[in-house]
Symmetry: C2
């Protein structure tokens, strides 16, 4: 999903297939890096790190470091990120609520085209 509704290269940035899940994960509460890694099934450290960097750059997520040893790094939603996440969640809820419809349509489609 692109941040900034622009398709032209140079502006905006794509948060990739993982960005939406990070935004959703942070909706309930702020989290440490490892908590995000554990709560987002299937994400690698590399992709989580990369996705977070882009979201921070875009101002949707903030990052706070406690320079202890070992360090603690916490992430959370900024106001803009919160609004984005809320609207994203609304869309997900809509899709989930209509999952029955979607599934049967998919099955009909796959049956018709096999």
């Amino acid at each position: 999903m692109p941040v900034l509704a622009e398709r032209h290269r140079g502006h905006g940035r794509d948060v990739g297939r993982w960005g939406v899940w990070v935004l959703i994960a942070l909706r309930d509460r702020q989290m440490r890096f490892f908590e995000l890694r554990e709560s987002i099934e299937g994400i690698s450290e590399k992709m989580l790190s990369q996705t977070l960097r882009n979201l921070v750059r875009d101002g949707l997520v903030w990052r706070e470091v406690e320079p202890t040893i070992p360090p603690k790094v916490t992430y959370g939603l900024t106001p803009v990120g919160q609004g984005t996440s809320d609207r994203l969640a609304s869309m997900f809820d809509w899709i989930t609520d209509n999952a029955g419809d979607i599934r049967s349509t998919q099955m009909e489609f796959d049956t018709a085209n096999s």
Copy 2:
């Protein structure tokens, strides 16, 4: 963006980076294939065709063929697709309205990290 809020392979389907733009484009009115191609800047026929097939499969978009020569094929949003598109648009509007914030955050970020 995944259709069906599931990350596990086998279910849901990814409408890719173009799906959101198709959903947005069809928000105002139904369109023919070539109209979509012209209104979505940068999309190739291949990707448009592929994206539309997935959206139809997912029941977010309907497809109607007039078997004339040459054929006319029209696409539009189903009720589920309309709801999805509305919520997507709401998120885009939010991001657009906050583009100023986002841009300055990006610039600060890029300055700080160069």
